[in-house]
């Protein structure tokens, strides 16, 4: 029966589409977890690693709000250390000198496209300051794509 063949073909197509990730994964090598360039010199982050892994975006958003809205420029971490609340100035300059080997590795792996770089300048690995692409200022909030 033509009708039955049509339905089974449709079903096969559907099942193939639903299991596509499996075929795809079996056909290619597994993707390794991203390896990050560890900061040289610095040993402690402003918050525990576990927290930073899951929630660094909220910390950065909090910093932004305090700097921009409250005019507060410094942050005291749990250990009593005082740092300047600045993505480019502190995070990227003091510890994670190469964005491409730290931020981008995870973001690319997880498909997260933060909007930080619409406004913030990215210091190069050598320390020179390179302007980020011009972008509307409203997108200063980090976003994630999952």
């Amino acid at each position: 029966m033509r009708n039955r063949i049509l339905i089974l073909a449709g079903l096969a197509l559907c099942l193939a589409a639903l299991t596509w990730p499996v075929w795809r994964a079996l056909a290619s090598a597994p993707a390794p977890a991203p390896s990050l360039a560890r900061p040289v010199g610095a040993t402690r982050c402003v918050a525990p690693v576990g927290f930073m892994r899951t929630s660094h975006m909220t910390l950065l958003a909090e910093w932004r709000d305090r700097v921009v809205r409250d005019g507060v420029r410094t942050y005291t971490d749990a250990d009593g250390r005082v740092v300047t609340m600045s993505l480019s100035g502190t995070c990227l300059r003091a510890c994670h000198a190469d964005k491409t080997k730290f931020c981008d590795r995870c973001h690319d792996y997880a498909g997260v496209k933060p909007t930080c770089w619409g406004c913030h300048v990215v210091p190069t690995a050598t320390g020179a300051i390179v302007s980020g692409p011009a972008a509307p200022s409203r997108s200063s909030r980090p976003g994630a794509a999952l």
């Binding site: 339905i7 499996v22 994964a25 899951t54 975006m57 950065l60 498909g111 496209k113 909030r141 999952l146």
Partner: protein, 333 residues
């Protein structure tokens, strides 16, 4: 224990989902469609001077495809929904029909959001992340509100599910006819969406570890994340439950609706013969039996007959012997 849970549960769910779906569709496909019974919601194709409704009363395959796409993608039939409103007093007041697009809107919002969310999640299972997944995600996150930014569909799907639950509880008739299974479906969906939202915006997990795990699932070589967190476990469990029960509950309409004969058959019942594979013979009262019984009356009335004298068959075998004759006067319909 958690490791077993994280590895075994999604696979069992996937097998139930895919196997159940295939089994249901096979059962339907194996059942014949004996008759051509489209519900015609538009003008048939008949006379040259009358414009046929090519989609609402399709006479071609293209028309049927159009009709099914309208149903599947835009919920055409649900869009027709009007409420029979309260009428004025009196025995025969004007009929009142009220626009009622809320159900259509709720259904569209829910189903399309769900699709977007599924496509967004594709990035978890495929390396490199498919372009469609990142594109859908960027469109979905267009408003860039909050950190991590809120997806529009996360909000829409919650509102839509809330509405679908609310209308079931609020409307006395719907409440009356709703089964526990209907609440179960809504509850599981709310659990999936709720845990997903909590996982993203409140009790976050290590996304890198999760993607390692989900890519492993897809590659059939999974390793459970070391500390997935309660939010993630809850999300994974609820999604697994949804997948596992989907083929065995009303949610299987996702597959079944495409097979509905009142929608996917062309309105060509007189143009092309539809063949019934089990077309069982039904013995009927033949002309010969009929003439045998009424021959004298036919002759008296001067009506032409086949056998002026003699019978077609032995009266013992005739239809006249089956039970008592029915009354001559019967209802006028």
């Amino acid at each position: 224990m958690p490791t077993v849970l994280l590895i075994a549960v999604p696979y069992v769910a996937a097998v139930l989902f895919l196997g159940g779906l295939a089994w249901r569709v096979w059962t339907w496909a194996a059942t014949p469609e004996p008759f051509r019974i489209p519900t015609t919601t538009g003008q048939q194709r008949s006379l040259a001077g009358i414009a046929p409704s090519r989609v609402e009363s399709p006479s071609t395959t293209a028309g049927v495809v159009g009709r099914m796409l309208l149903e599947g993608l835009l919920f055409r039939s649900l869009f027709r929904n009007v409420a029979s409103g309260p009428t004025a007093a009196g025995t025969c007041p004007d009929p009142v029909f009220l626009e009622r697009k809320a159900l259509w809107l709720g259904a569209m919002a829910f189903h399309w959001s769900l699709l977007v969310i599924v496509v967004r999640h594709l990035g978890l299972f495929v390396e490199p992340i498919p372009r469609v997944a990142s594109f859908v995600a960027s469109v979905d996150g267009f408003f860039q509100v909050g950190s991590p930014s809120w997806y529009a569909t996360d909000v829409i799907v919650i509102v839509a599910l809330g509405y679908l639950l609310f209308r079931r509880v609020r409307d006395p008739l719907l409440r009356y006819l709703t089964l526990p299974a209907d609440y179960l479906a809504l509850a599981v969906l709310i659990a999936v969406v709720g845990s997903g939202v909590v996982l993203r915006y409140v009790a976050r997990t290590d996304l890198i570890a999760v993607r390692q795990y989900t890519l492993g699932l897809a590659a059939l070589a999974p390793t459970a994340p070391a500390s997935p967190g309660a939010g993630f476990v809850l999300h994974l469990l609820s999604v697994s439950v949804l997948l596992a029960i989907l083929p065995f509950t009303k949610m299987v309409h996702a597959a079944g609706m495409w097979l509905s004969p009142t929608r996917n058959q062309a309105n060509d019942g007189r143009r092309r013969r539809h063949v019934n594979p089990w077309n069982a013979p039904a013995p009927f009262h033949t002309y010969e039996e009929w003439e045998d019984e009424f021959r004298e009356k036919l002759q008296a009335a001067g009506l032409p007959i086949e056998r002026e004298d003699g019978r077609f068959q032995n009266p013992q075998a005739g239809g006249g012997e089956r039970g008592a004759p029915p009354a001559a006067q019967a209802p006028l319909t």
